[in-house]
Structures are given as C-alpha cells and as structure tokens.
C-alpha cells in the first residue's frame, strides 16, 4: 500500500512538487494537470491523495470509477467511468480530488495516481525539504521513523544503519 505523508511545517512553497507532477502527467506547464496542490490560503496547505486503506472516495463513488488497486496499492480513478458527480470531492478530508476537464468531455475526478509507472511518487522524490514523504506501505514508513528515532536513543553509535 502506497503511503504518502505531508508535513506542511517543512514546506517552503517552492512548488517543485507541482511542477514535477505537471510534467509527469503531461500538462501544459500551467499547473492544471498537477495532482498535488500548494494552496495560497485555506486548508489544507498541501493537498495530495493519501491512498487510504478504506478510501471514503471509493465508498462514495456511485459509478464504480474509484477503486483500490490491491497490487499497486494505490487508489485510482477510471476516468472513463467517472460521471463528475462531486461525491468523491465531498468525501475527501484532504481535499485531494479535483475536477478537471480531462478529455474534453466535461469535468472528471482527478487526483494523484501514485506515479504507478514510475514506481515511486515523483513529487516526493523531488521534494527538497521532506515536506512530502512516501513509502511502499505504512509499515515501512513507521519502521523507518522508528529506526531513525531509536538510533538516537543510546550512545552506542549504532552503525546498524538508521537509514538502512
């Protein structure tokens, strides 16, 4: 399961994530195709899909367009099935779903796809401050934090690879 975390306190608003996402998803450079958003005002300051294990957007989707891909571990939208009813937008607590005119057929739900074809979210890879974090799963995320933190606990200078 893909796991993406956000730490707004670290965000310097460099918007590199938006630019990378825009490029990755074939936008025109105007930010209209970016699936991660840095907001100038309002909440949340950074919005991006968290790929929830029991995603409320998927539960709310009336047309079966949103589902959890168990293999890739991402919540994904089948644009062809989407009817643009806003139900998913209403459910997402992270305001991570937008409506974008994707194929000239009217507004369709649009959000982070976890960069499936890249294997790792590119915005996270390019985030210079660690405001965006990601791991292959929640277990990996908490495990890494645990390890880094634990490495500081004892004075034994563990070479056991806090980052291993």
């Amino acid at each position: 399961m893909l796991s993406i975390g956000v730490d707004p306190a670290r965000c310097t608003r460099c918007r590199r994530c938006e630019a990378v996402c825009e490029m990755t998803h074939g936008g025109d450079g105007q930010g209209g195709r970016s699936r991660v958003r840095i907001r100038d005002s309002g909440w949340p300051p950074i919005s991006i899909c968290r790929h929830c294990e029991s995603a409320p957007c998927a539960d709310a989707c009336v047309s079966g367009a949103i589902r959890l891909d168990p293999v890739a571990g991402v919540v994904e939208i089948d644009v062809a099935r989407c009817v643009g009813c806003w139900s998913c937008v209403m459910e997402c607590p992270f305001a991570a779903i937008a409506m974008v005119d994707v194929a000239g057929q009217g507004a369709r739900a649009y959000k982070c796809d976890g960069c499936r074809e890249w294997g790792f979210p590119r915005c996270v890879a390019y985030c210079p401050t660690g405001a965006l974090r990601a791991g292959a799963g929640a277990g990996e995320m908490s495990g890494r934090v645990r390890r880094q933190r634990a490495a500081r606990v004892l004075p034994g200078r563990p070479t056991g690879g806090a980052r291993a």
Binding site: G42, W43, P44, V83, W86, S87, E91, A98, M99
Partner: protein, 393 residues
Amino acid sequence: MNYVVVGSSAAGLSAIHAIRKLDPCGNITVVDEESRPAYSRVLLTHYIAGRVAERDLFLVEEAFYRSYGVRTLLGVRATGLDPGRRQLYLADGRVLDYDSLLVATGARAVVPSWSRTGGVTGLRTREDAVRIRNAALAGRRVVIVGGGPVGVKLACALLELGVTPTLLASSPRILSQVADREASLMLEQHLLRHGVRVRCGAEVGEVAAGPRGTEGVVLSDGSTVPCQLLVVCKGVEPRTELVAGHLAVRRGVLVDNGMRTSVPGVYAAGDVAESPDIWGEGTRVSAIWPHAVKQGKVAGTNMAGGRDLFPGVLPRNAMDVLGMPFVSMGLLHVPAAAGWRSVSRRRGNSYLRLVIRGESVVGAVLLGCPQLAGPIQAAIRKGGRGWEQLVPL
C-alpha cells in the same frame, strides 16, 4: 451459517463483500425482485444525460455472484418474515431459513394520487430512465414535478440532451431541503440562465389528458403547463412492508449503530434503515449512496461475527448543476435558539455557509467552492471544532 440478503443494491452488495471477507464458507443467498443484477439508481440521471451507457449502470455482473459463491434468487419478491423461526417467505412459495438476515429493500418513489395516469412516470428504475430518455430524444416536452436533488439533476440531464424541461417545485424555492435560501436562489438563477423553466410554489392539481395521451399538467392556481411526459420526483420512502409488524419501524426500519434491528438475527441497511445520526441526537433515514455502502459493510461484518460500527448518519448531497458544483451537508436549518448561528461568505459565484451550534460547525452549504467540502465534513465528524482554521471567512 446461512445468510440471506434481501435487496442487492449498494447496501446488499457491500454486505456480501463484508461477509465473505470474514466467512469464506457460509451460505449466502440474495433475493431481489429485479431480475437483472444490481444497478446504480444514482446513475440514472447520468444515463439519461448520456454520460453512461446502459450496460454501465450495472454495479456487478452475474459472474460476481458466482465468484463470491452467492446463490441468487433474482426476480423473486420476498413477501413475509417469521423472525421467531428465522424464515423468509418468497412470492413463489419458497421458504428460506436464515441465521442472519439483511433487509436492504431500499426505498420507493413517492407517488402522488394525481399521478396514476398515462404519461406520468417516476424516476426510480432503469425502465423509468429508459422511458424518459427515449421521450426526450423524441423531442417530447417534459415537466419535472419536484424541486429536490433528483428533480434538479434530471433537469440538468435533459438540458444536456437538448431538451428544455420545466421544473415545478411545490415549495417556495428549489432544493429547499438541502440548501439554504441564498444557495437556492443562486441555483435557480443559474438554471434559469441555462433555459430551464423553474416555477416555485407550484402545486399540481391534475394531469390534463387528451386523445393522444398527456397534454399538460394543470396547477392548483388553474394555469396549465403543456407537456407530453410528466416525471414525478417527490422523493422516496423506505420499503418497510416486508418487515412491518415484526420489527420496530418509524419512517424506516430502526437500527442501532451495528445495523441491528429490534429482532435478533435481523439487520437492516441502506435506504430502508433509520439509524442514529452522528450527533447521537436522533435517528434518520438517509437515502444516500455512501451511507448505504458503509451500512452494508457494517451489517455484513456484524452478521459474520465481526465487530463494526456505523458512525451515524450525516445527511449530505453533492451534485453538478450545469457546471456549478453544489455540496451541502449536516444541519442546515438555523433555529432561533441560543447558540445557533450561521456564517457565510460570497465571492462572485462562490458561496459558502456554515451552520454553527455553540463552537461547532454542524452543517455547511458550498456552492462553487467544493474543495472545502471534504475538510468541512471531516470537521463536522470530529465534533466541529476548529472550523475557523479551515475556512478564512
């Protein structure tokens, strides 16, 4: 274990998923009076608008039931129940034994007395939708009776097809149940701008029939609106007739947060159920899709021996009104009591209103600024504090 699920729409299917997750071997039987596998009623207006093909209305294919090892009795109505002997009676005379039963019979359209003539239809089934779409494509004049969400969505759908409908609302404004006054007026203006003829405060007197069928509808003020098809969208009511007399029923079948009815072994979920609201202040029937899915999952989990709770009903609606997104949720009526107030913000076509009780947000109307809907809903669910940070007003 013998599980019987009556109704195979959102709640029923979601319950089957949940049961199978916990109990790979139990016998599951689904009874549904429709002879085809479940389809999405919510998609019907989108079908009329041509956004979804008819085959995409179906939620599952027949193979789904096979792969889940579910016995299907489709096209059969359940007619009676003996909760003491744990038996369900079917219209064809068969009797099903169950260990746990899920009542997910859904709701039916409200049908006014004047509407029992030709040229009048509801919008509840696939057949209704096909009829309306065909009429619209044939260039018939359509009048929609009901200014609620379904009526408005249908109006938008017809407009997309190139038909300009008339929308008759009996209340003084459209969407009176799901929007505040300002949003109603804004939406009405928006519809009018796009050519929808909206008439509020219009009571239907009778249907005017001529030799070639329906010719118009006569309003109580005596005026006549000509039309060839009348679509009644006056809301829905829970289909409780199967269980009435056996289970506690108010508007819907009363259930607790575990979706248990008043009788052991019987659960209810979806549009038929009346369950506690998220504030724990009362019970509500909520005929919306996300609730049906969640309630079905909770019911299924509990039926199979697991433990799950439904967080409670939070009424909400989302729709696209001709390019203008509209979302509302929670309590919208502001009583003239201490502690209640509302705050609102309007910038151009974007309008936001929050209903505040004490320090907590309990309801919201959002027009043209739907991105905030999710965070606000989350805030309402968490108790409503801290909304000031979400929304710079």
